[in-house]
Amino acid sequence: MKEKSFFDKYMVSLAVIICFFVVSAGVVFGTHKLLEYAALQKVVKEKERTEKIICRNSLLLLKQHVFFSENSEKAIKAAKEKEEQDKEKDKEKKGEDKKKEDNKDKDKDNE
């Protein structure tokens, strides 16, 4: 009877070991990719969250800016009006003072 060769003897065992090796490598590689994807998703979510926060903050800043600019316009208008009113009051006062002085002069002349 012919003796079995080395390959015939261990072919099945070798095939099984190689099979297990390939499957195990696939499992490890797959897990690595999955974890990598999960980490990437986490980073993306974090980025989106920070972007949202930045957007919200900039919106708040913009609102604040609008509020301040509107208020400052109002304040400027109010200040101008006040200035005009003061000027008018000054004019009126000056006019009254002049009238008084004229009256005084007239009284002196009459005397």
Binding site: L14, V16, I17, F20, S24, T31, H32, A38, A39
Partner: protein, 215 residues
């Protein structure tokens, strides 16, 4: 023997560390803190369970000559997966445990459980055996880690336990302290086992006597 007895037996009566003295090296080296002990215990438990299952399911497919190599490939792959998951979720503790997580692949508890038990038994006993062995190992690591950390550093899982700055026994964190504690736990376990056996013997004696009287 009923299946769940494989689980209970491995926790106290045949504890892998305290009775079989297997996995002593990681048990002493890693248990400087409770968190690293817990992590290594969980890792070993997961590797045991996840590698026992495919081995016991495919025992008829794997030829005798390729058994050992195939089992080691399976264990190594699962250990690599567990290590990747741990290092992505708990990077700090995984770094603390260091080389002992990849070394789970060559832990004699895992090899014995997978190569010796899972290959020759059906699915349920294998699962219970793996669960029991892993839980026994995990409990010992957790207990040792908790005792050593609380005694040696005055903290538990990083939280301070005592008001004073000085720890009770700084010696506990060192390696000799680990061996000392392990021997104490082994002695305690032996004492408990002896008590249980005595109780069981007394119970069987009483049963026999009652049987004689009734007959």
């Amino acid at each position: 023997m009923s299946d769940h007895k494989f689980f209970t037996k491995k926790i106290l009566r045949e504890n892998p560390v305290l009775v079989m003295a297997a996995g002593v090296c990681p048990a002493v080296a890693v248990t400087e803190s409770a968190s690293s002990g817990l992590l290594l215990g969980c890792g070993t438990l997961l590797v045991l369970l996840l590698s026992s299952l495919p081995v016991t399911l495919m025992k008829s497919i794997i030829p005798e000559k390729a058994a050992c190599a195939s089992h080691i490939i399976i264990i190594a792959a699962i250990t690599a997966v567990i290590q990747m998951i741990f290092s992505s979720w708990l990077p700090q503790v995984t770094e603390e445990v260091g080389i002992f997580i990849p070394l789970i692949a060559v832990n004699c508890i895992v090899i014995e459980s997978v190569n010796g038990f899972a290959r020759n038994n059906p699915v349920l006993p294998t699962l219970f055996n793996g669960l029991g062995t892993g839980t026994g190992f995990l409990l010992v690591l957790l207990l040792m880690g908790s005792i050593r950390e609380s005694m040696g550093e005055g903290t538990l899982f990083g939280y301070p336990l005592f008001a004073g700055d000085m720890p009770l026994m700084p010696f506990a964190v060192l390696l000799p302290g680990g061996f000392f504690l392990l021997s104490l736990l082994a002695a305690l376990n032996k004492h408990i086992n002896r008590k249980i056996r005595q109780k069981e013997k007394n119970m069987t004696k009483n049963d026999r006597e009652e049987g004689k009287i009734s007959s």
